[in-house]
Amino acid sequence: MDRLLFGDNQFFGVNHMSEEKARAQQMKFTDTSAIMAVIDAAYDNGISSFMCTTHDRVAEICEIARSDSDRYRDLTFLPCMPYAHKYANAVTEQGMLGALKQFTPDSGILDAAIRGSTSLARKDIDGLVTLLIDSEMKMFNGLHTPVIWLQNVVTDLMLGLGFDHALRLFADHVRDKYGAEPGFITMNLPMLVDRLERLGVDNPLVCANINKIGFRMSGGMEAYRKALEQHRFRTVAMSVFASGAIPPDEAIEWICGQPGIEAIVFGASSRSNIVSTRSLVEKYWTSAAAE
């Protein structure tokens, strides 16, 4: 995997520090061409892994990548699913079952369940979950997706509920059907890696906030350090700048000094930010840290 992965929060009004900044960014990226210009800048600077949500707008980016396959030959997509707000809003509006119906419109699976004639009626979730994964993956048809991530809101929900089967199911389906590595985004890394180990999910990719000030590192810095040192999983660090609370130089120097970090995902809204992050990583990432 590349050391630097390009994230997409900045494009869709996600900023963990400021709603005002988030809105300003949303305005800046109203046109998909503005998003594409930044992705192009990253791509032309050798950052070719795009870690993206399954947002409707990402479908447009996928379309561009497909239509100019020569230019984007090396561009890989690392989808993060599901785009949770889509589901959360639907649940608020239509209730839990109504929402499921909306997202599996042609399957008739829910009606069948209510009639009691399918695996759903036996409370078997495998069919439904794989159907939802497949529907989220449709937009990436024909594109290279070497890693498929489960968003932290779902990973951590399943973790808290003790719904281990769903984590296992996601890993298996992603490997079997898409030949991709399963990845889990989480805000609770120490708890998650213990659970995945117990479930026998082998050497999983885990993406979590890892930053010098311990922002959103639930379980505490010490538990993270221990987990990283034991190195039973492949780590992608996110929020290394803690949403801007840590100066870039200091943030990158620190993260590059941590054990077992395989990659960093970062967001940037301009070519100059991309270039400066890349050069900081080149400066601080010694071969020892990357091993």
């Binding site: 869709f12 009004g13 996600v14 900023n15 963990h16 520090m17 400021s18 709603e19 005002e20 988030a22 949303q26 707000h85 959360a88 809003n89 649940v91 608020t92 509006e93 239509q94 209730g95 839990m96 079952l97 109504g98 369940a113 409370k123 979730i125 809101v153 951590d156 929900l157 399943m158 973790l159 808290g160 509920l161 003790g162 719904f163 281990d164 089967h165 769903a166 805000m187 609770n188 708890m191 000030i213 311990g214 922002f215 959103r216 590192m217 639930s218 379980g219 505490g220 803690a242 949403s243 801007g244 609370a245």
Partner: protein, 384 residues
């Protein structure tokens, strides 16, 4: 270790279940909902005991505490059932749809020394806590005016048939959305003296309100203006924002940042690094938020349940968001409903006098009220 039962498996209920699952001090003794499919799935895959009737769970699950996350209409009877059995209660917001119910239940729970809490999670958000701290230190002097806002994308088209779209179920923007900023205003300013100019407006819904605007009046002329809509697609998720003006400065806060302007006379002003200085100051959630042991959707959801669980373990009857404090918000909401029925408005038509002089537009109240001024003069005379 406390044994907790959970009733209501909607968005908040499921979220609470996961957060409780991440708390090593909690044993989830049972979950209860009317949706048997959901119960079946959760039982099959997590092994949790399930109940389709609350009474059955209360009778047989041996719980110390109950978390209620059902539609608002069901809060009062469920809280009553829990009180009858001497169980501590965490109830989602709004507390009760009737102040009378709320007052009775708060009194009944207090009589039994039960721990009570309502899910106004904003009181556990770092930035809003900081505002509380600033006001307690009189940072912006006398608060003269507050703008309390909440916007989000819940009802964006004329459809929807969940309980949130039914007035009788306690749905509507007032109870679902406006309750949050109003609860913060109650936290900062206390009980209002009244409400005026309340409009509960429909945008897309057939039965219920999608927009709320109102003025709340407080002692000494302080007012709070409310502007709330859950039919705003431009925001990605619900945003609650408070702006407070005072004689010594101004504060703006949402869940992520806190901007504070201090005037030269503010008692909080300082030259020390990291402290508030005269002029603009910005503090972010990264600095103001206390870490939690398990995170889902926001630190505040864990923090509020941790607070409740700790109170249950220690038997602390006093705590944040007690039933009694939530009744103040329920009552504020009801006052606004009553006010909205007056539909008072000064007409802009032929009946409006056209000879009102601009200079007669005198403010209704004074910062230093008349009684206070008389007292000041009296004190001065006594000192002489």
């Amino acid at each position: 270790m406390i044994r907790v039962g959970l009733v209501g498996l909607g968005k908040m209920g499921i979220s609470h279940q996961a957060v409780l699952g991440g708390n090593p001090g909690v044993e989830l003794a049972g979950i209860c909902d009317s949706n048997s499919y959901l119960l079946g799935v959760l039982h099959k895959y997590t092994g949790v005991a399930t109940f389709s009737r609350l009474d059955d769970m209360l009778d047989s699950a041996k719980i110390d505490a109950l978390v209620i996350a059902t539609p608002s209409r069901l809060h009062a009877p469920m809280v009553r059932a829990a009180i009858d059995r001497g169980v501590h209660i965490f109830c989602e917001k709004p507390f009760c749809l009737s102040t009378k119910d709320g007052q009775e239940l708060a009194a009944a729970a207090a009589k039994k020394d039960l721990i009570t809490q309502v899910g106004y999670h904003n009181r556990f958000v770092g930035t809003f806590l900081e505002v509380k701290r600033l006001l307690a230190s009189n940072a912006i002097g006398d608060v003269t005016h507050v703008l309390a806002e909440a916007y989000g994308p819940v009802v964006l088209r004329p459809s929807g048939d969940t309980w949130r779209s039914k007035g009788l179920e306690g749905g509507g923007c007032l109870y679902d959305y406006a309750a949050h900023p109003i609860n913060l205003v109650n936290w900062y300013l206390g009980e209002p003296r009244g409400a005026g100019g309340t409009v509960l407006n429909r945008v897309f819904s057939a039965e219920i309100d999608d927009e709320v605007s109102s003025t709340l009046y407080f002692d000494r002329g302080t007012t709070a203006q409310l502007s709330v809509s859950w039919s705003d697609e431009s925001v990605r998720k619900m945003t609650t924002r408070l702006t407070l003006w005072g004689t010594q400065g101004r504060i703006f806060a949402d869940r992520q940042e806190c901007h504070v302007y201090l005037r030269d006379g503010s008692p909080m002003r300082s030259h020390a690094p990291g402290q508030y200085r005269v002029g603009w100051n910005t503090k972010y959630t990264t600095e103001l938020t206390q870490p939690v042991d398990f995170y889902l959707r926001g630190e505040e959801y864990t923090a509020e349940l941790d607070h409740f669980v700790t109170r249950c373990e220690k038997g602390e009857v006093d705590g944040e968001n007690s039933f009694a404090s939530a009744v103040v918000t329920d009552r504020t909401l009801e006052t606004m409903i009553v006010d909205s029925r007056h539909a008072a408005m000064t007409p802009y038509d032929k009946t409006t006098p056209v000879d009102v002089q601009a200079e007669s537009a005198r403010p209704a109240t004074h910062r230093v009220g008349r009684t206070r001024r008389i007292r000041q003069i009296a004190n001065r005379l006594i000192r002489r």
